[in-house]
């Protein structure tokens, strides 16, 4: 589904990603871990198409197509979804209106009519229930005044609405208490299928107890320096990242 080859990316001429290779197949869950500043969030933003990042070498192939030249919204229409580490507050746009616009713009891009209002409403309610969200939440301004947990839950709610093929969850566990973590992870697991894939970016093992990865990769200094199964996450939790750094620097 996703094939990243020798990806180099920089922001304001500063190299951040220095040769990433990663392949994600349908039905798989990948975890990307690594110390602060290793390039995890940059990788997520580059895949999603943030303009400030410049790809200087390598390629991002999604479903057999090089998506490097595509705008962020075109990637979204093809089924790429990024759950933000820091979801942006947009005063004046309600959660409902935002997701309605997003869904209908995606449909428009596929040559479909707007979703009938009744169907939309039902879909919104079903997915809100899945994430155990209060209905009142839906009429509030997007992310404005939301707690950390509410923001993340709202991200997964949008993911549930948009049904992406590839979901990248950037530090979705940060700022979540244990109940919210369980609800969010539960939501992700219910959306999981053999046809889609999830990339979880995280510092900590605890989210991976709920969303169990097939593969764990360690990103350090702009490169994937180690890959393994879910047991690698446990090892990192126990021993920290210093041994990896030593291995790399040796």
């Amino acid at each position: 589904m996703l094939k990243i080859n020798n990806l180099h990316a920089s922001v304001e001429d500063k190299g951040i990603l220095k040769g990433i290779n990663l392949e994600v197949k349908a039905g798989e869950v990948h975890a990307i871990m690594g110390p602060n500043g290793s390039g995890k969030s940059t990788l997520a933003s580059v895949i999603a198409g943030k303009e400030e990042y410049e790809v200087t070498d390598g390629s991002i192939i999604f479903e057999g197509e090089d998506i490097e030249e595509l705008a962020a919204e075109e990637r979204a229409h093809k089924g790429v979804f990024l759950s933000f580490q820091y979801p942006v507050e947009i005063p004046g746009v309600s959660v409902t209106n935002f997701i309605k616009t997003a869904i209908n713009e995606s449909r428009k891009a596929k040559g479909l009519e707007d979703m009938p209002a009744k169907d939309m409403l039902k879909l919104i309610r079903d997915k809100a229930d899945l994430l155990e969200m209060d209905r009142k939440f839906l009429s509030r301004s997007l992310n404005e005044g939301f707690s950390g947990g509410e923001k993340k839950r709202n991200e997964i709610f949008q993911m549930a609405m948009l049904e992406p093929k590839l979901a990248i969850l950037d530090e979705t566990d940060s700022g979540l208490d244990i109940d919210a973590l369980r609800i969010v992870a539960n939501g992700v697991n219910k959306l999981k299928s053999k046809d889609n894939a999830v990339v979880v970016i995280t510092h900590y093992q605890r989210l991976l107890d709920y969303i169990v990865p097939d593969f764990v990769h360690v990103l350090y200094n702009g490169k994937i320096v180690k890959s393994g199964g879910k047991e690698l996450a446990h090892e990192l939790e126990e021993k920290g990242y210093d041994w990896i750094k030593e291995e790399v620097n040796a």
């Binding site: 943030k50 705008a71 919204e73 979801p87 942006v88 947009i90 004046g92 997701i99 997003a102 209908n104």
Partner: protein, 437 residues
């Protein structure tokens, strides 16, 4: 002969034919003298520092329309809020159009300024109110000298006017260039409530300059909601002079939706003559090309325990220029005043300009006054966030701009009007999304 000379000499011929031997006649004579002394305002005056009338005064405007034009309703329907039941006072080239209008004398007077000036039964109201709130500045004086036609609305006490009133001035462009000077008088007595929508619309590309004066009197506990839709074409300019005098416990609000024309200047003045008055001034400006919109507001707090709330949002693209000049005066007697003012702007282009200037003159010592002004660009991180969810850049931009103006729109009390404004905004922003927030 420049426009000023032309106007002054036209007055000589004009005055012999109107209301001779009445008090109005002497008001006119005074007014033309004032205009003759002061002339058109120039950039040398502080209040006109950022708005120059020079260019638009160069046109050879005809002062009195010679033609009688008629228009089919279907051709102008789009300028009406047509999906609601309303009273309508419609003018074509300054002349009343009875077949497009729907006036009434049933318990309330929704009719014409010309009738009010001429007929004895209106004399008392006219003598009490006509030209009593308008200032003696040059442009209102010019309008006063030539006042002939416009809306006359008198709501006696304890009336809740169920239907909004639409005042629409249409210009057909039958003259090469037209100067229009509509004059509206609105008197709302004790405990009454009225909603009014005003629009000026030019139907051709011939230049039109409108110098409009509206006087509104909100008496004790009256509620007046006034909405101005300014979305005219590229050769139409508007100088709107609105004066609102409020008595105790009244609430008056004016929403100004300034979506352009060539040059638009809003002189909006509130005078609080009583206690526990609330004045609300809100505006959304969205312009581009070389359009110019200037909001010049005044709230004069004269007595204690009153409030005023000003909230103006502006979005400026291309080489558009905007001005916000908001003046608040709090007299020494006006203790416990709460006066708030906020002006937020987004510049979408490098060439767009906004000049924002709060002016607070506070002579009382126990008041709460605040003002805030921001000028910024669209939030890039919000753009990426929206795009990452599949909303294309243009639509994302539009949604952000709409959201930015939404807290002004949300206080529009007529749902159909709100929908219409929303549609105009979507069209201005070049998108086809619903924005039903």
């Amino acid at each position: 002969m420049d426009l000023k000379e032309k106007l002054v000499s036209s007055f000589l011929a004009f005055e012999n034919n109107v209301d001779v031997d009445t008090e109005i006649h002497s008001i006119r004579n005074e007014a033309i003298k004032t205009f003759e002394e002061k002339g058109f305002p120039t950039k040398k005056e502080e209040a006109w520092k950022y708005t120059s009338l020079n260019k638009i005064l160069k046109e050879d405007y005809s002062v009195f329309s010679k033609h009688e034009s008629s228009i089919d309703y279907k051709d102008v329907k789009k300028y009406f809020i047509h999906d609601i039941d309303s009273y309508k006072i419609i003018f074509i080239d300054g002349k009343y159009s009875s077949y497009l209008s729907e006036t009434t004398h049933d318990g309330i007077d929704v009719c014409l300024m010309s009738a009010a000036l001429a007929k004895p039964k209106y004399r008392l109201v006219v003598e009490n109110y006509f030209n009593k709130a308008a200032t003696k500045d040059s442009l209102p004086s010019l309008n006063t000298a030539f006042s002939q036609e416009g809306a006359y609305i008198h709501i006696p006490k304890n009336k809740l006017v169920a239907k909004p009133i639409q005042i629409i001035h249409l210009s057909t462009g039958s003259e090469a260039a037209t100067l229009a000077q509509p004059r509206n008088l609105i008197v709302v007595d004790e405990n009454s409530h009225v909603q009014i929508i005003e629009r000026h619309q030019s139907l051709t590309d011939n230049p039109v300059l409108t110098n409009s004066v509206t006087e509104i009197f909100a008496n004790k506990r009256a509620i007046v909601d006034y909405y101005k839709i300014q979305n005219d074409n590229a050769n139409a300019s508007l100088i709107d002079n609105t004066f609102i005098e409020q008595k105790r416990e009244s609430v008056a609000s004016v929403h100004t939706f300034a979506f352009g024309g060539k040059l638009t200047r809003n002189n909006l003045n509130f005078y609080q003559n009583g206690e526990r008055i609330n004045s609300i001034l809100k505006g959304v400006t969205i312009i581009g090309e070389k359009q110019h919109v200037d909001h010049n507001t005044l709230v004069h707090h004269i007595e204690p325990n009153c409030e005023s709330h000003q909230d103006y949002k502006g979005i400026f693209g291309d080489s558009a220029t905007g001005v916000f000049n908001g003046k608040i005066i709090v007299d020494k007697e006006a203790q416990k005043t709460n006066a708030f003012q906020s002006n937020n702007n987004i510049l979408v282009s490098d060439k767009a300009t906004i000049n924002s200037k709060p002016q607070l003159e506070i002579f009382a010592d126990d008041v709460k006054c605040s003002h805030g002004c921001t000028i910024g660009q669209l939030d890039e991180s919000a753009m990426f966030y929206m795009q990452s969810r599949g909303i294309p850049k243009k639509e994302a931009k539009a949604l952000l701009m709409y959201a930015f103006s939404n807290n002004v729109l949300s206080s529009v009390k007529i749902p159909e009007l709100k929908q219409r404004i929303t549609k105009i905004i979507a069209k201005k922003l070049g998108v086809n999304i619903g924005f039903d927030l």
